[in-house]
Each structure stands twice: as C-alpha cells, then as structure tokens.
C-alpha cells in the first residue's frame, strides 16, 4: 500500500494569494463607500463570505477561518493579538488592514491544513 502524499501541502500556506483575494474582496465591497450604520452588517457579512468563497475556489485541502472587524474612523484605541497552536509547516495566517476616509477594516485569514 502506497502512502498518498499530497504534493501541494509541501509548499505550505500561500499567503500571497490569500492577501490578494482578501484585498480584492474588501475593495469591491467597501471601495468608495462611507461608514453607514444601516449597511455595515451586510458589508461585513459579504466581505467575509466572498473572501471565504474565493479561498475555497483555490481548491486546496484547507479549513479556513476568516474574521473581519470594521470600525468607524475616529480617535480610538484598538489592540488585537492572536495565538495559534498548529503545524507551522502546513498552516498559516494572513492579516490585511484596509482603511479609507471614514472607516478602518482588518481582515484575518487562518488556514489549517487537512491531512488526507
């Protein structure tokens, strides 16, 4: 019996692709818009869902978690930290910070490999 070893997992998580996908999704949803209380729920949901859909289309054997925080731009303090317990050779993360005149947006992608 031969062990089937997936060749693409050797490369690990491709953070470059992930950050391009996320940046495009955020640009599409929030580009040129101002902060609006009525739409904000819909925007965060669509940013996250679209990023996830595009990531899945890459076709790699990964579980994804995408988190997005959108904050109205004003004078405030914001700290975020994350700590992960995983396999560093195959799993990875990418954080993209996007801002415009009225809001700040931070999107975080975590990708955890599925060992087949």
């Amino acid at each position: 019996m031969e062990e089937y070893h997936r060749p693409c997992d050797e490369v690990g998580f491709n953070a470059e692709e992930a950050h391009n996908i996320v940046k495009e999704c955020v640009d599409e949803v929030l580009g040129g818009e101002d902060y609006n209380q009525n739409n904000i729920n819909q925007w965060t949901a669509s940013i996250v869902e679209q990023s996830l859909a595009h990531l899945v289309k890459l076709g790699k054997a990964y579980k994804y978690i995408v988190t997005c925080a959108v904050v109205q731009r004003s004078a405030y303090g914001f700290h975020t930290a994350s700590s992960c317990f995983w396999d560093t050779t195959s799993d990875g993360t990418c954080t993209v910070r996007w801002e415009n005149r009225t809001m700040n947006c931070i999107v975080n992608v975590f990708a955890v490999a599925i060992v087949l």
């Binding site: 470059e16 579980k63 988190t67 050779t89």
Partner: protein
C-alpha cells in the same frame, strides 16, 4: 505617494476619452477598458491598504527548517489507528467558563492604557492558549484571537465565517466589558484529522 501619482494619471485619461470638449465633463463609459480602471481608481482613491502579518513569512527562509523534519517524518510509516473521531470532543461550555474566569482575573481593575495594552493582549492570548491546551483535547489545533477596543463612542462590527468540519470543530467567545474598554476573546478549535 501612490495616491498622488494615480490622480495625475487620471486627468489626461479623461481628456483623451471625451475629445469633443463639452461644457460638462462626462464620465467615461463603463464599457471601455481604460475607463473601468479609471473608475476603479476614483473609487479607491481615498483608501489604502497594507498587509500586517503573514505566517509563513514571504521570504520563506524560516519555513525550510520545518520541511526537512517533515519529509523525514513522512518516510516513517505509522500504523493505522482506525480512529475516525476524536477521543474527547471539544466541549464549548467548560472552555467558555474557564476563559471568562481568566479574563475576569487578569483584567480586574485594569484601565485602558495605550502602551501596556499591546503587550497585555499578546500575554493574554498566550495565557488563554495554555489554558485551552490544559484541557487535554487530543489532535485539536487551536486559534485564539484577543481584541481590545477602547470605548470612545465609535461603532465597531466584527464578523467571522469559516469552513470546517461541523461535527468536531467549534468556537467559543468570551467578553469582558469595563467603563473604558471592551475585551473580546475568540477561541477556535479544529480537529486535525
């Protein structure tokens, strides 16, 4: 720097596309390729973005160390355990009470302070990770996210979506609110099949 150069490029473009000099400056049609790029540039004129943190790092120098070990491991053949499910399934409620306790203990009487909070957030994330590992869930991978938001009257919206195995993977959240800030901890547990 980037924004300024983009703005100067768009004005000669607009002049080229409407050669008939009408009194009003007409927006170029969506169907011309250059016009679409220009409209996109206008929309994104006020926005900037950057990539904050990436792991594995883009230059990949550290990642190679792990791969040698991993390929050596692949040559070893492990016997099948025939285990389809985790020994102990992730119990969200017990983890939630524990994390709420940790938050309450470490943030009791702590006021919002710009300089110390960046260090505190990393410290808290590591503490929560060790506590979750102590529960002893085998073959689970964990992701902890800690957020501190200062209360200054602005609105914030946080959303998460995931793709995972609904049977074994789960998440937990704990919130600690004080007068000057809100602390939010998210824990994601993924079964490594």
């Amino acid at each position: 720097m980037d924004r300024r150069s983009r703005m100067t490029k768009s004005s000669p473009g607009a002049a080229h596309q409407s050669p008939v000099a009408s009194k009003k400056d007409r927006r170029p049609s969506m169907f011309e390729k250059e016009a679409y790029a220009q409209i996109l540039r206008e929309r994104l004129r006020e926005s900037i973005h950057d990539v904050q943190y990436v792991e594995p790092p883009f230059d990949d120098s550290i990642a190679d160390i792990g791969k040698e070990w991993k390929s050596a491991l692949a040559k070893l053949k492990f016997a099948n355990s025939y285990r389809m499910e985790p020994l102990k399934k992730f119990q969200a409620h017990s983890v939630e009470t524990k994390i709420q306790q940790i938050l309450k203990d470490s943030l009791k009487d702590v006021k919002y302070d710009d300089k110390s909070f960046s260090h505190l957030s990393l410290d808290l994330a590591d503490r929560v990770l060790t506590a979750v590992k102590e529960f002893g869930y085998h073959r689970y991978k964990f992701i902890i996210k800690v957020l501190f938001i200062q209360k200054t009257g602005q609105a914030i919206n946080i959303a998460s979506r995931w793709i995972w195995d609904v049977a074994w993977d789960s998440w937990v959240q704990a919130k600690h609110e004080t007068e000057s800030y809100v602390a939010l901890v998210l824990v994601f547990a993924l079964y490594c099949e």
